[in-house]
Symmetry: C2
Subunit: 198 residues, 2 copies
């Protein structure tokens, strides 16, 4: 038999295609939702419909938002002249959780990739350059992932930026709580090169 009828089967199938889930975890989620207090699943469904209806990329920075311009871009206290360039929205959220950065963001939505045929125009780099000019940006922080693609993209953007801007990148080194014995050689070398006086 199909597991619990067509709709339940379709729901399991749809959930199983989400990142990090598979058929087994999708079945477990559906059974747990069915077994809960009635209303909880309907509530989740309503919430999902609302997000599906309203979530859109911020027209200015590319952050996910439920309005035309996201709350970071409309907040005047965040017009510090610092612009942090990230690969995707998950990175922006990660930086926001750190609460260390009070400026604004720009989400590229990916990295340059010759293999996948993603060039500067696909990432909206001309739009980024226009924005930097329009918004009186003084420092651009290239907070791209420490991968080959991320660093290639960072170098490309750094070359394209006007010369009077301060251009920075995230420090590389030993992560907090990290043990040297478990770190890769590249990280240890980078941390040693960038050593600082205590």
């Amino acid at each position: 038999m199909q597991e619990g009828g067509d709709d339940i089967q379709a729901l399991i199938g749809a959930l199983a295609r989400l990142p990090g889930l598979g058929p087994r975890s999708a079945r477990r989620i559906v059974l747990s939702l069915i077994g809960r207090k009635p209303g909880q699943m309907a509530q989740l469904s309503t919430l999902m419909a609302r997000v599906a209806e309203n979530a859109r990329p911020c027209a200015r920075c590319g952050n996910v938002s439920d309005s035309e311009i996201c709350e970071i871009c409309v907040d005047p206290s965040r017009q510090t002249g610092e612009l942090c360039v990230v690969e995707d929205v998950a990175d922006l959220w990660a930086l926001e959780r750190g609460r260390a950065f009070r400026g604004r963001y720009h989400v590229l939505g990916g990295t340059l990739s010759a293999l996948d045929d993603i060039g500067p125009d696909d990432l909206g780099i001309p739009r980024l350059l226009a924005r930097i000019k329009a918004e009186a940006v003084t420092e651009v922080i290239l907070a791209l992932n420490a991968t080959v693609e991320g660093q290639t993209t960072a170098h490309y953007i750094a070359d394209a930026l006007p010369a009077q801007l301060t251009i920075t990148g995230l420090a590389q080194g030993v992560p907090i709580g990290g043990e040297l014995d478990y770190l890769d050689d590249g990280t240890i070398t980078a941390a040693l090169r960038a050593r600082r006086r205590l």
Copy 2:
């Protein structure tokens, strides 16, 4: 800032409470859904609303179904006189995936537990006994988990069943593909005791 507004935040929170998910995987799922083709998230929401509306336990066996009586219980070809007693719906689905059993099921919804104050009435064992009488059952297969609670419950049910019934349990032994070196002592002992002539 909140990650992407109140609704998105609430959706992440609701997903993070599902079994096997946490805040990180919930964020990843929401971002992936927002980034997909529009309509896919709305579709998932609709599906979930339909299941929330229609899914209910089968009045006869406790399987999850979108009708009063599940499709296994209404299928006359499955009235074989064999009744397979399982702990929960996930176990029923697992047995159905094996396609080896062509009789009907009875879902207990848990196991006897003195600690959690779950007694025979909470598991509907009187209802199970009434059903066995009403449906001309000839064999009861106690397919409960091979845990202490599962086996305690199996013994309790076996004692409560009429003496003329055939009462069986799943065979215990080496799982298919299992390597002796990685099996626990209990399984090896059980497999050796129940050895069979080749």
